[in-house]
Amino acid sequence: MATFRKNTRKPRKPARNGKKAPAKRSRTKRGRRRTGRSRLSRFVVPLVLVAAITGVYLLYLDHKVRTGFQGNRHAVPAQVYGRPLELYPGAKISPGQLEAEFQRLGYRKVTYPKRPAAWSRNRDRIIVRTRPFTFWDGQASGRYLDLDFRGGVLNSMVDGKGRPQALVRLETPKVGSIYAAHNEDRVPVDLDEVPEILIGMLISIEDRAFYSHHGVDLKAILRAVWANLKAGGVVQGGSTMTQQLAKNLYLTRKKSLWRKLNEAAMALIIERRFSKDEILTAYLNEIYLGQDGSRAIHGFGLASHFYFNRPLDELDLPKLALLVGIIRGPSLYDPRIHPERAGKRRNLVLDVLHRQGIVTAEQKNRAAKAPLGVVKRGKKGGSGYPAFLDLVRRQMRRDYRPEDLTSEGLRIFTTLDPEIQQQTETALSERLRKLEKRHRLPVGKLEAAAVVARSEGGEVLAVVGGRRAGYAGFNRALDARRPIGSLIKPVVYLAALMLPDRYNLVTKLSDDPIRVGGKDGSVWSPRNFDHKNHGEVPLHLALAKSYNVATVRLGMDVGLKRVLDLLGHLGIDRPVQAIPALLLGAVSLSPLEVAQIYQTFAAGGFRSPLRAIREVQAADGSKLQRYPLTVSQVAPAGSVYLLNRNLQEVVRSGTAKGLSAFLSDQLNVAGKTGTTNDLKDSWFAGFSGNRVAVVWIGRDDNKPAGLTGAQGALRIWGDIMRRTDPVPLDLPRPESVEAVWVDPMSGLRADARCEGAQEFPFIRGSAPDTDASCVAEANDPLSTLFKRIFK
């Protein structure tokens, strides 16, 4: 790599006097001097013209070769990695989940792991040899680990000598790369890291005279022409590796004589400009080896991952032979589509290698019997996680230029948890199908998006941008900004609860009809979803049952400005219109933005900007940047605690009680449903003890989806949580909060003996101080004494 930069960068400026050019130019000058003689000129003028055109054309080719070499050699896409899996005794991880991780890492299953990147399993025991890996904060050497599982938990972990290990970080799975649209994905390899036998194979199969020719091998061409004439069709190619490189770098795959000439001319130029080692390295990295949707697979590094999900230096003889065999016709010999043909081709390569003395007969025979070893194809486009990668790209763009991102070979360590991502995708697509069936909705019209993040710290674990999650396209999780409906209500209620002198959970709110006048003279009279008036309702019930009218009254009383300011503190920085309808969710946000709001609730009032990236490393391994964990308290812990208790009530007995069909009551999750006019959008946002998640369902054409938040998004949310091992939500009660018995009928202070009395949390000093009548009724001398002590 480094040598290329030196060779290619220097001549960039004096491009116009390349080495070949002067010779041509002087010939044309000589031609001009002789133009006086008219006879000669008849021959000379056309000759000169041809020479001049050829000269200019060669200059052009020369320029193309150099810029091409330079551009392609340097354009190394950013490599994107998911989170590393942390292994420690007590970790909630099943043998099956670990197997899935090994598969993502390209570890192979064996009977006993003798070499790195291999593992074996015997029921609840897994033995693995890990690969060495360069993390952002240092090198981790390969390890031998003996793991024992009990009931979905890693029970013990010892090394090769039986010593217990407290914590081991597995390498990070590669989840994609970022490359420019006009460019190709690639995993560049250096000559010294390529298995030696691969070089030998290439030369003996593709270009035996590679080290002696000057770009074109006439003998090979004649040999090929003869062979093709004999066979009556094209059976053999005579192109040198340099010619193939020229073709791959600059030319189309169309076959024509003109292209062949160009190819030869460029091969000659390449040979003059670059050393054999440089050409070989470029060949290894540029040769076309397959197609993955719109993504062309160039180079052995990428092909090795594409076909075997493993780095090139881990490939054995039959796998290398298969790759070399594919060069001749990547679609003809596609081992996934034509395994038999590809196998024959591989064995032909092995035969040639044997004949040339590169492998022994025994090696050949053993390799010829080996299975192809090609892994099942991943999702198209090189990454199974287009929506998450989209988020990574956007967050990176704040700090890096686009060309740095696509060409500097950065290593980006992200927060993506492939396991949670997978479960979220499955939950979403399967549930949508069921919803369409159950509600008799047109098939395939519903769309959805989901975001899952850690409550503490705000690391984004999964992003699903649509029901066909593996395909890049409209990323609804980030770009579908839809009215959020009742998901706004917790913001309104929190704004109120931040005024403990005026509001607590049992404050009476009126749910009687209200008319709100707009500045333009219009009148807005919001109605409840059930079209009923509920009279006077305690504040907590108004949120639990999502009453619109009571909420509008509360919001107008608190003030739109307060609600808007709080929305800003919660991380919504786009301008939001201060209209009364805002109180019922007339604000359009993306699922990601909603997740930011609820993250702050989940973290007790401490906002952490949602992050998809942990660290960035330069191609040479140096540390470039960390995206650290940050928190800032944007709402008092006490008020958020009251709100969260209320959001638990929403799930326990309010609009989200349908969740009990999915999750155990013991989990005590908190959440809120959201539905917009004409059932266009179905939302659910909420959190367990460790994760916050937001789900949206709607249609791309903005027609009614036909589902309320509880009928639609809630179910996907429940599915996601159920599949991803939720931790119960235990809310630590802040010092500023006390629990007080209240008579729900009157909203007055009660004690535990009052019938129907309930205990509610209050900000200290804000609980009602008037006793309910039941307290007096229950009074006898002893309990009066009692109360005096404990009140």
Partner: protein, 168 residues
């Protein structure tokens, strides 16, 4: 007098079950609110005589992997690699996101790095999860006081110091 009343009240409380969770029994401690509200803390002081004894300093409790990471952070800190130490503590927080001691550790590293605002926020976060660990709460207030002072906000620094003193 008071003690006598309690002695009298206890058996009664024991036979009437709902009493266990009566408001007065529940109201936790005399510790003031984490963010201001001195009248509230005075109110708290009134009930303090009936509260369980202030919890003795609890030794920080970590799981094995978290302990290993914090040790690593200490090594990195000793080697003056504060960035790496922060990374290790963040790793620990991913394993135990609600361990107030780990949050405090992160706060002190940020303090050492001169990121005072961040240190103050992290210490406040630690406090929000500290529960009855008075010693930790005091340490957090002290750290916040230093952070405010370093950032030139002496009013907030003094307020934080007063809070710290309340936890002696």
């Amino acid at each position: 007098m008071m003690i006598w009343l309690i002695v009298l009240a206890l058996p009664i409380g024991a036979c009437s079950t709902p009493m266990r969770s009566s408001p007065a029994m529940r109201s936790s401690s005399s510790l003031p609110d984490d963010r201001g509200g001195s009248d509230q803390s005075r109110k708290g002081a009134r009930t303090s005589a009936y509260e369980p004894q202030a919890s003795a300093a609890i030794a920080p409790q970590y799981s094995l992997p978290v302990a290993a990471l914090l040790e690593e952070a200490s090594r990195q800190e000793a080697a003056k690699d504060l960035t790496a130490a922060v990374g290790s503590v963040e790793r620990a927080l991913r394993i135990e996101p609600r361990n107030a001691h780990v949050w405090h550790r992160l706060a002190s590293l940020r303090m050492k790095q001169g990121q005072y605002g961040m240190a103050v926020e992290l210490a406040a976060k630690s406090n929000s999860l500290a529960g009855g660990d008075a010693e930790l709460v005091r340490d957090n207030w002290r750290l916040m006081a230093r952070g405010y002072r370093a950032a030139g906000d002496s009013d907030s620094a003094e307020a934080a110091e007063r809070k710290a003193q309340a936890y002696r």
